[in-house]
């Protein structure tokens, strides 16, 4: 019996509380699962230093594990290697898009100078490429704010990190 796989199966039910369609595994923040004799330590990595969802995620992990009968579960934060949006899985990206959030590209800001936008993300609703950046800071630390110039809808984008 592969206990690690069993645990990962349980954790599939744990999602990001701010984007409840994507699991912590798909988001790439679930790191190691260490099984000791009498306890299980689950390592997760914060997306942003100040992400207020981390405490809730830790609570949700313990709850999901307890419901399946796992006792003595400890959740620890792991800083290194630092989480990056490249850690989001392809399935995760697809789910983000279907949820109305444009998935991240692979460029950090100001690597090509001030006032330069990275390639504009395509609109998650109508797929138009004709979009503009409204603000680099959105409704949560991990998102920026954009608008589609064709369907006119504003949308969030998971920003590169």
């Amino acid at each position: 019996m592969n206990r690690d796989a069993d645990i990962r199966k349980v954790l599939e039910a744990v999602t990001d509380p701010e984007i409840p369609v994507i699991s912590i595994e798909e988001l790439g923040i679930l790191r190691e699962i260490v099984q000791e004799e009498n306890s299980i330590i689950i390592f997760i990595s914060p997306t942003y230093s100040g992400c207020p969802a981390m405490d809730i995620i830790a609570f949700d992990i313990k709850k999901a594990m307890a419901e399946k009968g796992y006792q003595n579960v400890e959740v620890k934060y792991q800083l290194s290697p630092a989480w990056t949006t490249d850690d989001i899985s392809d399935v995760g990206r697809e789910k983000l898009k279907n949820y109305g959030i444009a998935p991240p590209e692979k460029l950090m800001p100001n690597e090509n100078g001030l006032f330069q936008n990275e390639k504009n993300p395509s609109c998650p609703r109508c797929n138009s490429e004709n979009t503009k950046l409204i603000s680099l800071f959105g409704s949560t630390p991990c998102k920026s704010l954009h608008q589609c110039l064709d369907c006119q809808e504003p949308f969030d984008r998971f920003k590169c990190h």
Binding site: P46, S49, G50, S80, P109, L114, P141
Partner: protein, 255 residues
Amino acid sequence: MKNWDSLNLFHHYVLEIADNTLILGQQLCEWCGHGPILEQDIALSNIALDLLGQSRLYYQYLSESTGGNFKEDDFLMYRDARKYRNSLLVEMPNGNWGTTITRQFLFDQFHILLLQKLSESSDQRLAEIAVKSIKEVKYHQRFSAEWVIRLGDGTQESHVIMQDSVDELYKYTCDFFVSTEADQYAASNGICAIPTEFEQLYYANVNGILQEATLKIPEIKKPIYSGKKGYHTEKLGYILAELQYMENMYPNCEW
């Protein structure tokens, strides 16, 4: 009573960094609900959250490295102004939007250089925190620099407001480069380069953007005291009064 004298130079060094991000983050929180437009209100709150999150990583580390003698919150709640080691710039009041942007810009440009050095630290934990923080601070840096240019090279009115802010705040940047005993300890132990090592680069970057913003670069008249040594302006007292209010009224409260 906590025995603050038991802290060593390493702890003092980490406090220099953590107190900067804490005090600036705390001040930015005051903008929440008062920003000129919604998007910028949200931007400052996001930056505040990043800075407070980074502060927590440092204070948690400090707590661990004192063997738990000091809790994370002790560092915030049970030190008076004299024991805070933030640089003077970050305790300057929010003022108007131009003042806040200028303060942010002058800090971000320093912050990124410091973190780049810290990411090569011999102290693994500090290096990890720095690598994590750099990703966030790059966004802050771009935000504040763009605003400085947009407003400095904007309308006549915005230009005057920005020049006033720069004239008022620029002098406090020299406090970043005061070498304390803790800085020297950090440098000689490979924890982080002494700040004067990147002082020239800092002013080259800052002045370059100020020039692009058509702003005049003021002469520096060095303040006589240094926040890094615990000598602050009266302004820090007001910030701490608010920050520590709840803990003072209801010690050890939890919710």
